[in-house]
Symmetry: C2
Subunit: 425 residues, 2 copies
């Protein structure tokens, strides 16, 4: 009997699609880490009636825990705590200690020393934010808004109320899950093992065939819950199982490696970025980008400490930059076009030369819309890889989808091209 | 009486937070464009019982239309259509025309000519995907999975079933909303005017004060629904109103411009990217990036046709690249550090020189974690802007949040710095 949870994300800006919700996915993943099974995620705007309806729906689904995000601000339209109190039929009461904490935060933030009165509007805001449902535990704010943990009752689930700003929510999480109401609510959880295998160039249908065979080749495979997810050209195979099924999982993994070892680049959940950095092995890297326009360099530099191996790159969007900065022969571009393997090779060699790195990767392609050439439809991307002491290699790929899709798939492909080349050191 | 809709996003990978849902926000925004009021968005995994529960919840909330995304694949765990049929109590029946369409798609895709039998597994998959609830209208696939539009009944809402891959869903949308079941379902919608104002460097509290004053200065302001949303340092002010309230909105906009005109960069929903491109006015641009590591270049090049003005850039992550490629005096870096305005200026001038553009922008900063220097905490970013025939200008900013946040805020700041400088031509 596992512990089941629901997540309620509040905010008109999320419901309306103006901003991408970062809290729901984050909380869902953290709950999974805790062994809690998330069964529903709902998003509502700023109408209390809609929030109340979603809370009641989740309760009717028999979840043990509801986590809400957002709606804790000082303004009148931030009604999550009041609505949760109504849902749980618990009156709101002021938490004096929490009120003091919030006032201290506000005074520090607004630089109003003790003794000097705060504007009445601020006093009212602090009063509001210090209200918690009767019997609930307030969680100290990481911004100005405290969280709230309400214990479950015979008929209602426990509720964890968290702030909307992702950095506030994430800072509060470790404390929140250690509060008595939440510890009690998830006490019945089953800690699953979770293993993630990542493959590149493996299709879901091909994997489906293997998984079908596995059902006959691996006894009790049903004890391992396998979920697959294709994203950015990478196929993610996530398996969840109880400890006793570890040997069953191992047999599945062996079968996957036997069938698709060529395409599997990670069996320990590490990303291609992790794998690539591990294989650099002290070597430095540079980029020469046309169609990806900086995305490959941005991908390399989004990791803390990347300056240890990422020296830099050139975005050679115009042909003049390809020739002038990277030294690609103009004659090559005139004769074969900028989207060609020889140009990709010259770009990579040029970047390694200009930047002074051990390795350089290049992209030149047609992200679209439009720009196709005879024999080079939209989605055509040529890659070059120049490694000190080796012959420069090139490849041409076709990517589906719109401009954004082509650029992102090409960026991921560039990382895999390097990682594959460095596989044997 | 407006038309109300609910959205159900299916997929364990979304519910589990492994991938970011792109369909819910997109569909929500499109429904708003149609004048339909989205009241609930729910996400469920691949368990039919959970999907059924969410459909029943939305129906109990009295929505006129439910849009589902995902779960239309050929595999056994893609159960959206069957579950929707159960929810609506309509038997599934084969749509012969649609079956033929799907088979043709598959034969073309797998290159199996007519007359040659398909593998039985594929036949079964086609049979499954050609099933539609009785009385429903199938929508031709943009990939392999057809959509389904089911008319409303006296007791149940209309349901629009759409595929999960965003490009398939988006390609199908224009056809889907013109099907009789959907046209009927949203016939009662109220078309609202929607106006979006965007500001940079304006805080929500400061705007709140202005909106409070507006309530007394602008009669009947209540007829205009104003929502504000802060993202990436930009404050978005969205107003919705019926046609008759246009003059009320105009008075609000006048007040906002009078109070915050300096900070408002768009009153017609155009983004800073749009504004900047408009102000380039034929001039070419280049980038020199350190801490943003390619994000500014990627931002410039993510627009179709950007090659008309974006020539390229240099990601000068290491100091050697700053000096060697961009010609930043090593002495400057030694004396002032790489994160300094003189270095930012030299980077911008160097990029304009090397790339041969009319304009170049540069970023050098401390994205963190770690790397702070005396007087230069994590989040410090220096910008340089070099424009032909003008004195190069620089600025230093402080950005909050983690590495990703600092890099994104700095990227947006770079665009605003250029747009502001080109405001007067």
């Amino acid at each position: 009997m596992s512990t089941r949870a629901g997540i309620v994300v509040t905010g008109t800006e999320v419901l309306s699609g103006w901003i991408t919700d970062r809290n729901g996915p984050w909380v869902s993943a953290r709950l999974a880490d805790l062994g809690v099974d998330v069964v529903h995620l709902t998003v509502c705007g700023d109408r209390p009636a809609d929030l109340l309806a979603q809370l009641r729906f989740l309760a009717s689904e028999g979840v043990d825990l509801i986590v809400t995000t957002g709606g804790l601000g000082p303004t009148a339209d931030d009604l999550t705590v009041a609505t949760v109190a109504e849902f749980l039929d618990r009156p709101l009461e002021q938490d004096p200690a929490m009120r003091q904490t919030i006032e201290t935060v506000i005074r520090t933030w607004r630089q109003v020393p003790d003794g000097i009165a705060l504007p009445s509007s601020l006093e009212a805001a602090i009063d509001k934010q210090a209200l918690v449902p009767l019997g609930a535990q307030a969680i100290p704010p990481s911004g100005t808004a405290p969280g709230v943990a309400v214990p479950s009752s015979d008929t209602l689930p426990a509720v964890l109320v968290l702030p909307g700003p992702p950095h506030e929510l994430q800072a509060m999480w470790p404390v929140a899950v250690r509060t008595a109401p939440i510890v009690d609510a998830i006490a019945g959880r089953v800690l699953h093992e979770q293993k993630t295998i990542r493959a590149y160039g493996l299709s879901e249908p091909d994997l489906a065939v293997t998984l079908l065979d596995a059902e006959s080749e691996v006894p009790d495979l049903a004890d391992v819950e396998v979920t697959t997810c294709m994203r950015g050209g990478e196929l993610e195979i996530v398996s969840r199982f109880d400890g006793h099924a570890a040997n069953i999982y191992n047999r599945l993994q062996d079968l996957l490696l036997a069938r698709h070892g060529e395409r599997i680049f990670s069996t320990d959940a590490s990303t291609i970025d992790d794998v690539l950095v591990g294989r650099l092995n002290g070597r430095t890297i540079a980029t020469a980008e046309s169609c990806t326009g900086g995305l490959v360099a941005a991908r390399f530099t989004d990791r803390a400490g990347s300056s240890a191996y990422m020296l830099g790159g050139v975005v050679s969007y115009s042909n003049d930059v390809k020739t002038g900065v990277l030294g690609v022969p103009a004659e090559l571009i005139d004769r074969l076009g900028a989207v060609s393997e020889p140009v990709a090779a010259a770009m990579a060699d040029g970047a390694r030369e200009v930047i002074g790195s051990d390795i350089a990767v290049s992209t030149t392609g047609i992200a679209g819309p439009g720009g196709e050439r005879p024999g080079k439809p939209v989605g055509t991307v040529c890659f070059g890889l120049s490694i000190a002491g080796r012959e420069t290699i090139t490849v041409t790929r076709q990517f589906p989808g719109d401009r954004d899709s082509v650029r992102r798939l090409a960026t991921t492909a560039a990382l895999h091209m390097i990682a594959r080349a460095l596989e044997d050191g």
